[in-house]
Symmetry: C2
Subunit: 452 residues, 2 copies
């Protein structure tokens, strides 16, 4: 029989990795809750009518679809049954898909439950999502997202709260980060004053690559997308010469004399920066006018978080959207959201050795099993320890001492306790620290004290 | 546009229900961890080769299958393409399915990772599972299971540990329960001494219904399954006349003179009951020789937990299996496991009003928004509170006071704090308890003290 396996792009998490991942999720959750966000959960499966068309053509292809139960061909029209092809059958054999992100299900949730929700609604959600992407290093077909959103208020103070979440989560995880902030209205204003308001989205996408591909390639992309060469150069001059961002923001003040949207964007980012400056943050906040972010639904502030000491893409990002719920028929609800990239955060913490020590310890102490007549004494002390919140276990079988100690060691249990005939008679217990090898005998009645 | 919806049999969990469900999951998790169980997680999708044939024909039909990505017809042989039918295509269009329970993936995990695991392996797992069952009251297509297992040891003390888990989880949740225990070897012994060892499974299934359908129907089922009428009557006499279970256990001692398996079962259940008697449990433990449980892989102890005060089926159950991993090629690994039925526990707790008060409270206090110049003062105090672990929020917009208070009330936030111009000048803050209507003014510097 061949060893069983799991689908490519998915992962098993054993005890150590689960403990580490929980540490990240619980830290994020604690910060969300301290800020008054309420947790919700949505089903893994959504109707395809909810998911399709929300992530572009590429996204539609990456959805995992659930085959309809029973006779899954029953809805296929007769003419598609002869010489069937996948594209022809697809719309008829599946009406559910796995969640692709947490944002679209959240928008669906808000519209579906709008009458039960008090707005502004502060919600968070920590759940897995699935994408039929080509698996590669750091990219999986099942991964967790950790999202927080405030929906139903356009106050800039909510954007500041997103920065506060970043500040507190990464302080607690021990990762030094910088928050890069921009505003989509500034990007629109720039396109507008250069006479290319209609190419706002193309210009945004091209400029976003300035860091990665360099000026020449970005220029090529701009001209290919229909921006004339002179304007392309002026645009790039602006971005490259005013690399110092404060200066760029000042130069934009002048530029936006003829762009109301641009001026609105500047005023919004300045308000956000003011909150941040007086907010006593450990995290650096940096305006970055070249930041674009790919998602089309953003309409105001956008931000991305990068680790200072590790070369890795963005580990957290988000922004303001003015009409996310519009896709489900509820218009005019503005919101701002953030998503923490748990997988990348995990990689950084592992690499930088930032997880707490002993995180994988299943129990503080293993009681050696000396046999039937000694067992009750060990079990009594174990109950006492557990009652005080100290995890303790007994080796279930009367195996050789060496084997039992090896088991404790392999399982990351730091102490063993020994209660043989002699110790029981003297109402004592022998304790061995497996790390230092140190051994001592204490009175049984002091065991809780010892492990506290 | 019609309101969006979710697939039938699935559920959205809003803030209140998520908080309540988390309370159950976290209580169970805490008890598992105190007993030295380590958490693992497996992917939502498994290869169909892992899942198929493990849950019977009915189970195979209830699996949710993932349509293969891209051209899902590419593996269909030519002759199945003409006049295609669902049964013919099925084996070729899908090679992954959603997890149906946590037991089979756990067995797969143990076999796949056997070289990284220290046995006896104490693991727990709290994850959703999916079944394409007909949805009905209390039965869903997506629901959570909470499983703990000790695998790699046949010591009876592990079975006692399962009873301890039950005892502590339900004590903490405030539900009075009784654990019904039996042993599959006793059931086999009975079938054997009555001359129907080959009908062990049929007899077990029939006897299991004695409580629900009554003696006559069980007798009919027994005879239909090929048990002669006289034996059927003797079997039923035994179960009905010795309803007092201690008596039944004693009468079985005699009966099993000629059944070694039966004697082994009796000795095992007696050892377990001895552990329980000296274990200082709050929970009642009751031997119940009519208990069968449906799952075929059990080979020793079996148990089921019922709430004392609520008429509902079993809310937790489990047992010993001697060869669960054998289906994946690893033989001779004995284990014992338990599964808590979170959905039914949820229903009982809601019905009996057992959830802690204020569990749905997203924040302890809402600071009223008086406008731009007052905001910084509120934000400063909010930071101070959060720093001490007290969740606090500010209403993000400068809305009418009445609207802001209504929002706090609707959101289950118990207090509002008011810092208008006057309070700021006097370095004070007004606090109103929304439940009692009580209002008071305190010095701002005392705010942490007040909410602690």
């Amino acid at each position: 029989m061949t060893k069983p396996s799991i689908p490519k792009g998915t992962r098993d998490f054993g005890p150590s990795d689960t403990a580490r991942r929980n540490f990240i999720f619980e830290t994020i959750k604690k910060v969300f809750m301290l800020h008054g966000f309420s947790q919700i959960e949505t089903p893994a499966m959504e109707n395809l009518s909810t998911l399709l068309g929300k992530y572009g053509d590429e996204g539609d292809k990456l959805l995992f679809r659930i085959l309809n139960s029973g006779d899954f061909l029953s809805d296929v029209p007769g003419d598609k049954r002869d010489n069937p092809d996948a594209a022809g059958l697809l719309p008829f054999v599946s009406d559910k898909g796995l969640r692709y992100d947490l944002t679209v299900p959240f928008a669906r949730f808000v519209v579906q439950h709008q009458n039960e929700i008090s707005f502004p609604f502060k919600r968070f959600q920590i759940q897995p999502v699935w994408r039929a992407d080509r698996p590669q290093r750091g990219r999986y077909r099942e991964f967790f997202q950790c999202d927080a959103d405030v929906i139903g208020s356009d106050a800039i103070v909510n954007e500041f709260e997103m920065v506060q979440l970043v500040n507190e989560v990464f302080a607690q995880l021990g990762i030094e980060v910088t928050v890069h902030v921009n505003n989509r209205k500034i990007l629109y204003g720039i396109a507008e004053v250069f006479g290319y308001a209609n190419k706002f989205s193309e210009i945004t996408v091209a400029i976003d690559k300035l860091d990665k591909t360099g000026r020449d390639k970005v220029k090529l992309e701009l001209t290919e997308k229909g921006v004339d060469e002179i304007t392309a150069d002026r645009l790039l001059d602006m971005y490259c010469e005013n690399a110092e961002t404060d200066q760029l923001l000042i130069s934009l003040e002048e530029l936006f004399i003829n762009s109301e949207t641009g001026r609105k964007g500047l005023s919004e980012i300045n308000e956000l920066l003011e909150y941040c400056n007086s907010g006593n943050l450990k995290t650096k906040v940096k305006p970055d006018v070249s930041l674009a972010r790919g998602l089309n639904y953003y309409t105001g502030a956008i931000f991305e978080v990068k680790a200072d000491k590790v070369a890795m893409g963005s580990i957290c990002g988000g922004g303001r959207y003015d009409n996310l719920t519009g896709i489900f028929g509820l218009n005019g609800v503005s919101g701002v959201g953030i998503s923490f990239g748990a997988e990348r955060i995990f990689d950084i913490m592992l690499q930088e050795n930032l997880f707490p020590q002993n995180i994988e310890t299943p129990a503080k102490v293993l009681f050696v099993n000396f046999g039937k007549s000694e067992e009750p004494h060990a079990l009594r002390l174990i109950s006492k320890l557990r009652h005080e919140g100290i995890s303790a276990v007994m080796y279930p079988d009367q195996a050789k001492m060496k084997k039992q100690i090896q088991y404790a060691d392999d399982s990351h249990i730091p102490f063993i306790a020994m209660m043989g005939e002699d110790e029981i008679e003297r109402k004592q217990v022998g304790i061995k620290n497996l790390k230092t090898g140190e051994q001592q005998t204490i009175d049984s009645k002091d065991i809780v004290e010892f492990f506290k």
